[in-house]
Subunit: 492 residues, 2 copies
């Protein structure tokens, strides 16, 4: 989920200053229009320690007209607050129609800290989150616009920032024991954050996750998103009450993309490849046999660019498996029968029995890739698909299915080389159609869809494995070795 | 929740036969239209034992064209089924677009039986139910229409039916040990059913609860509801995906109403009244003092017809309480400030601190009563208000607040008598406005709104107390004694 947001995104000082006056004018403008539109706006600024929440909130207070807004932060409940139901203090803080309220950590601070310190368990967390979802739904149903920002930092980024703050006498007071303790708890905390964000990224109020390292980037991105979303909602009046997500994500990733951050130069020599291939195939043969005996099912899923080598790697895996125990399901356009059902139905159909393996060559992710980009699914359909897919995969993994998802990544040049090669090779020519060439024109659209897909569907129970696949040898060994690693973890 | 559905509703044989041929024609008609509209319809027939589920399903199979429908019942999962995620068998049973599928108990049989037999706890039940909600939402988002019927019987009705079946040699085979065991578990089972229905009565797929005693009534009601809902959806095409609930409830209650079943002749002599009043006021004085010391808050809420005596009974209660510890909040039209917030905001505001009492003279139920009937709230607004209110009250009671809800009921004649009396009494004249007389014209609309309100918001944590209030003495003592009873239960 934080894969994209771990990448540092930078805006130069000059670019920031050039845009600033326009941004400030627009912010005041939407604030003014709000007043007459009589819609309350709730802006939640949350994130990990040192990610710049305080700076961002200060800037928003500077940029908006402070007379028509308020800022709230909830610490430990006061005596007054404790004597009322939990949500009482949130309700009392709600802005009237036409006003803006900014929330530091929103209603998420308490549950995050309760869970981090084991004051509540996983079940209780889920219950609290579903109450928060209901709260937000009640407010958006009533016409409120809720914009939630999550500022993320990678572990390294956070560490560096904290030590920088500590050295600077002006900021060293900020680094308390809590910050240092949190630094050590980074993995645990981020894991909890992931659950929280996943459960509370609703169509009514989705999270926008961004890297918080660069102040210019985080300020501009947040301000732009606010301007865009408020304007959209004002135009549509009491139309759709959900945030227009698709646009915003493409917007945020501007500049840095997860895929372009992969190092496609990684490669493996043929001799080493052959040696490792033999080793991993032997291992997979053993491991898949154990899985069969332990009645653990396996589900492997491959997505990637055309000609990225999905078929090749699948053959290397199945080569090592007992043919009675696996099935490869190539996913093309749905059949007539499949079309008369929910789009997930055809994937439910092929779920393996306990102990069996199913390998999907392309999958349900078509909904948020090709169907999104080519317009086969409506915006509402692909937007709700993220959580439908997360729920689906949660059911699979809760049943005990071992689920691995691979994205095979090549660059545009490599794809072109492979297409040409296919044209020149008689037995590969059938693989290539005019569609393939046309799809190349939409490369950027697909890339942005992939970035969003990974952000929204990489979960703790089913993370995406990104495979640098310009070199086929490297890609195959990476997939096989990751499969072995997961098998070993799940089976022993 | 089952208050209305406990009342026997009857359709005579002749009325049934007179309507039957039209109903059958209409059922075939909507089935035919479905085919071209390409929308799947799921009909869930669930309910307590012996409530006629089997008979109803048999009739639907007889009346629909069997070639374009299917019927499903899920028992204990088979080996095949156990080796896949829980929901797999449900997905595999889904009808294609244009077809109808009937489900005996739907996906609810397993969770009900698991909870009844303590195979799962309360938390796990909630989790399962939220998964079922997601399943249904995915299907309705995709265009499916889901109609869920719950056939209810009162404990007495069930007992009589079972012993009748047992005596009849043709049906005695149906009465197994399970039925007899369930008979003993009636309260426990119905309590679980209530939780299940409350959690899964979503805007997408609400339950329709009806009394299952009379075969003619249950068949006609179900058939009419199916015809009505499918037709509505076909007309609106891919419009609103939620079931039009308001209409249907009014429809179902036809004939019998909860309010009209109350015995308004109940009365108390003045001397006895005075004696009991003194007793209960003394008791309340002690109990409210204990509540204060135990830091338990109390929230009393009074709804009822104009001139039903809400003010009088409130005065008798507060008379017994320490004036520092309670507040009476009369609810009239919202203030300007309140209008700029969510309608529940103004009720959150007045929540008592621990140990204090708040008495609401009218309440948030205005949303589903006056605002519904007078059109101040849109259909969508008051329809979602039921679950918003249930969630709100759940938060209150989870915090430990003692919450009592009273409906003060008088009949139309008694109201008229009291209005006249008010006109004739100088110091009561201020209480009466022309509004009051106008509201009388909408008596039936209000009555149907009250019936639905009680069905949808009488929960195990906050049941409605219905008070026969034609006789003021009787009504006051009933309220005071129920308050004492609840206090005693909660405090000791």
């Amino acid at each position: 989920m934080f894969e994209v947001a771990e990448l540092k995104n930078k805006v130069s000082k000059s670019a920031y200053e050039a845009e600033l006056s326009l941004i400030r004018e627009q912010l005041l403008n939407v604030q003014l229009k709000l007043e007459t539109a009589a819609m309350p706006v709730l802006i939640v600024i949350a994130g990990v320690d040192s990610s710049g929440k305080g700076d961002l909130i200060a800037k928003l207070n500077e940029w908006f007209d402070p007379r028509f807004m308020s800022t709230h932060a909830f610490g430990y409940p006061s005596d007054e607050e404790k004597e009322r139901p939990n949500h009482w203090r949130y309700w009392m803080s709600l802005p009237p129609r036409g006003r803006i309220a900014i929330y530091a950590m929103g209603w998420y601070g308490q549950v995050l800290s309760d869970r981090l310190n084991n004051r509540i368990g996983k079940g209780q967390l889920e219950k609290e989150l579903s109450h928060l979802n209901k709260l937000e739904k009640e407010l958006t149903d009533d016409g409120a616009l809720i914009l939630k920002f999550w500022l993320h930092l990678s572990k390294d980024q956070q560490k560096k920032l904290v030590s920088k703050q500590e050295k600077n006498p002006e900021t060293s007071w900020r680094v308390t024991e809590t910050e240092k303790r949190h630094l050590k708890l980074y993995e645990k905390f981020v894991n909890i954050c992931e659950q929280v964000i996943r459960h509370t990224s609703t169509p009514e109020a989705p999270w926008l996750i961004l890297n918080g390292l660069d102040p210019y980037y985080r300020r501009l991105t947040t301000a732009r998103h606010i301007i865009e979303q408020v304007s959209l909602r004002l135009e549509s009046h009491q139309g759709a009450s959900s945030v227009n997500l698709g646009e915003s994500i493409a917007h945020v990733k501007s500049g840095v993309s997860l895929l372009s951050s992969l190092n496609l130069k990684k490669k493996l020599e043929r001799s080493e490849y052959q040696e490792q291939l033999a080793f991993y195939q032997g291992r997979i043969s053993q491991l898949s046999h154990s899985a069969r005996q332990l009645k653990k099912s396996t589900l492997l899923l491959f997505e990637g660019w055309d000609a990225a080598g999905k078929g090749g790697v699948i053959r290397r895996i199945t080569h090592a498996m007992d043919a009675r125990n696996y099935r490869v399901i190539p996913i093309a356009a749905p059949s007539d029968e499949e079309k008369t059902h929910h789009y997930l139905w055809r994937f439910w159909r092929h779920l393996p029995r306990d102990g069996k393996a199913t390998i999907y060559d392309r999958s349900w992710y078509g909904r948020v890739l090709v169907e999104r980009v080519e317009g086969f699914a409506t915006t509402a359909e692909w937007m709700r698909a993220y959580s439908e897919i997360n729920d689906f995969e949660e059911e699979l993994t809760e049943h005990g299915i071992i689920l691995l998802k691979f994205w095979m990544h090549i660059d545009k040049d490599e794809q072109w080389r492979r297409f040409k090669l296919r044209e020149d090779t008689a037995y590969k020519r059938y693989k290539i159609t005019t569609d393939d060439f046309r799809n190349r024109e939409k490369w950027e659209l697909y890339e942005s869809a992939v970035n969003e897909m990974i952000t929204r569907t990489s979960t703790e129970y089913a993370p995406w494995h990104l495979v640098e696949a310009n070199d086929k040898y490297f890609a195959r060994i990476k997939v096989l070795s990751e499969l072995c690693k997961v098998y070993e973890k799940e089976l022993y």
